[in-house]
Amino acid sequence: MSSLEKTLGVIREMARTVEENRKTLTQLDSAIGDGDHGTNLSRGFKAALESLESSSPGTPAEALKAVSMAMIGKVGGASGPLYGTAFLRASSSLGGKEDLSGEDVAAAIVAALEGVKQRGKAELEDKTMVDALEPAAEAARSAAGEGAAAVFRAAAEAARKGADETEPLVARRGRASYLGPRSAGHVDPGAASTALLFEAASRALEEN
């Protein structure tokens, strides 16, 4: 199976996972935000799938670019431009490559992280998706030599741990920051969705 097919498989599994967890994500966002994170991502991934249908991308980078454009164009909110930037930077980092190594995948994840931090100006422990994405990127880098599947497996584990650890934090970025101390005691919805996306990617590659 080509890297392009694998990439498309990853994206489809991400979309499926978002749909499955739409309510959960929205409920997390209701607790410390405005209750739309699940709806937002669902709208974005639906648009991404439609765009992939109609555009038939030729490379993994083109597929990721289509996802990015769907996120930026259809999601809105904070997560739209942030995930949009993440997929855009991942796409750029892959360039025209047709066969992706573990190193390529890890580099793309690191690029995604840098894009998100640049756009959103969040740091670790601000209780945002960065708390899942940054450990995921580090784990990905460490596992880079073991192939794409291992990279995603490591990233998913690290992202899940990072997401869980947002629970006690007081938010300093995003809508949850308006709650001050009342934001503690809830997992950040964006960190949770980042963990779900990496788990979906990992699952998609294991299955092949």
Binding site: G35, D36, I72, G80, R175, Y178, L179
Partner: protein, 333 residues
């Protein structure tokens, strides 16, 4: 969920369609991008004002499009910032050659999306600038956080900068004025109930029948404190207390006042609140300039609650605040 709607996923487009049918003399709607655009846009040689944000805050922002206020408003999904594509389309639709100015409420989503739109517009050769309105004193200000939210005070930025743009002020002048309004406007709100976003289908939060949220946002984000409901005058004392002890010195000044309903609060209650607001301001030696704004100006769907806004005015602001304008949020009389 009980609403007068056809399908949750169509509420924004059907609402815009209704607005266009009702107010075709003031606005036109660009349906593909959920934009409300001034009927005679672009106005050549004038700085164009664009705002936008999630839907569900009506008449914000589409209701404020028209001669003397906004040139365009981008409607996002309910409570969700619109996207850079929409904003770019709005920018292109209203650019009259003198640049486009974005009035952005301080939410991460709104700021990021408008920033991206600005980059895209500049790439197409349209000059843009923006203000980030952050009038909500409920939230402590800090450079290490996302800072304060933008809420009902934003309407004053629309009105004053809209009149100034009509008056021929250039882009940097509008920017300076917008920053000045933002620096002098403070708001704080409270709520008694949650609201139900149509697509979610459930209240954003639960709240007991004897409780209220103080420091409420406009998207159902929890406020800063939940407590037992209190008499109207005590609630007003708390909201105004926080506003007056913030870093704008309102004493001895002339102010524009807004008592803004969040959607589900009847005019009766807003006037009861305003009655005490007026008393407190008089006691503090603060003069209400012109007509106070008592009504639903920036709502949260059907949420019950209200906010109080004070804007400290200077002579230039006064002139622009009272200049005529024609927008859908006005009444036929």
């Amino acid at each position: 969920m009980k609403k007068v709607i056809n399908a949750p996923e169509n509420v924004v487009s059907e609402m815009l369609s209704g607005m266009e049918k009702a107010h075709g003399d003031i606005i036109r709607v660009v349906a593909e991008h959920n934009l409300v655009v001034r009927a005679d846009a672009p106005v050549s040689g004038k700085v164009a004002l664009v705002s936008g944000g999630g839907s569900g805050h009506e008449p914000t922002h589409g209701g404020y499009v028209g001669a003397g206020m906004l040139d365009a408003a981008c409607a996002g999904s309910v409570f969700t910032s619109p996207t850079p594509d929409q904003m770019l389309e709005a920018t292109k639709a209203v650019d009259g050659g003198a640049g486009v100015f974005y009035v952005v409420k301080n939410y991460t989503g709104d700021v990021l999306n408008f920033e991206m739109a600005g980059e895209l517009a500049e790439a197409e050769g349209i000059q843009t600038d923006y203000v980030v309105v952050n009038d909500d004193v409920a939230v402590e200000d800090s450079t290490y956080t996302s800072g304060r939210r933008g809420i009902a005070g934003t309407i004053f930025v629309h009105k004053i900068c809209g009149a100034a743009a009509d008056d021929g002020k250039d882009l940097s002048g509008i920017k300076e004025l917008a920053e000045r309004v933002n620096a002098n406007v403070r708001t704080m709100g409270m709520s008694l109930t949650s609201c139900i976003p149509p697509e979610a289908g459930e209240p954003i939060f639960e709240i007991a029948d004897d409780e209220m949220e103080i420091g409420m946002g406009i998207h159902g984000e929890p406020g800063i404190e939940r407590k037992k409901i209190e008499p109207a005058n005590e609630i007003v004392d708390q909201l105004l207390g926080k506003i007056l002890s913030d870093n704008v010195d309102f004493s001895g000044s002339e102010v524009a006042v807004m008592v803004n309903g969040l959607g589900g609060t009847p005019p009766m209650e807003l006037y009861i609140a305003y009655s005490h607001v007026a008393d407190v301001l008089e006691r503090e030696g603060i003069t209400v300039y012109g007509r106070p704004y008592v009504g639903d100006y920036m709502t949260s769907l059907e949420m019950a609650g209200f906010s109080v806004t004070l804007l400290k005015l200077d002579e230039e602001m006064k002139g622009y605040l009272t200049a005529p304008c024609k927008v859908a949020a006005g009444r036929p009389f």
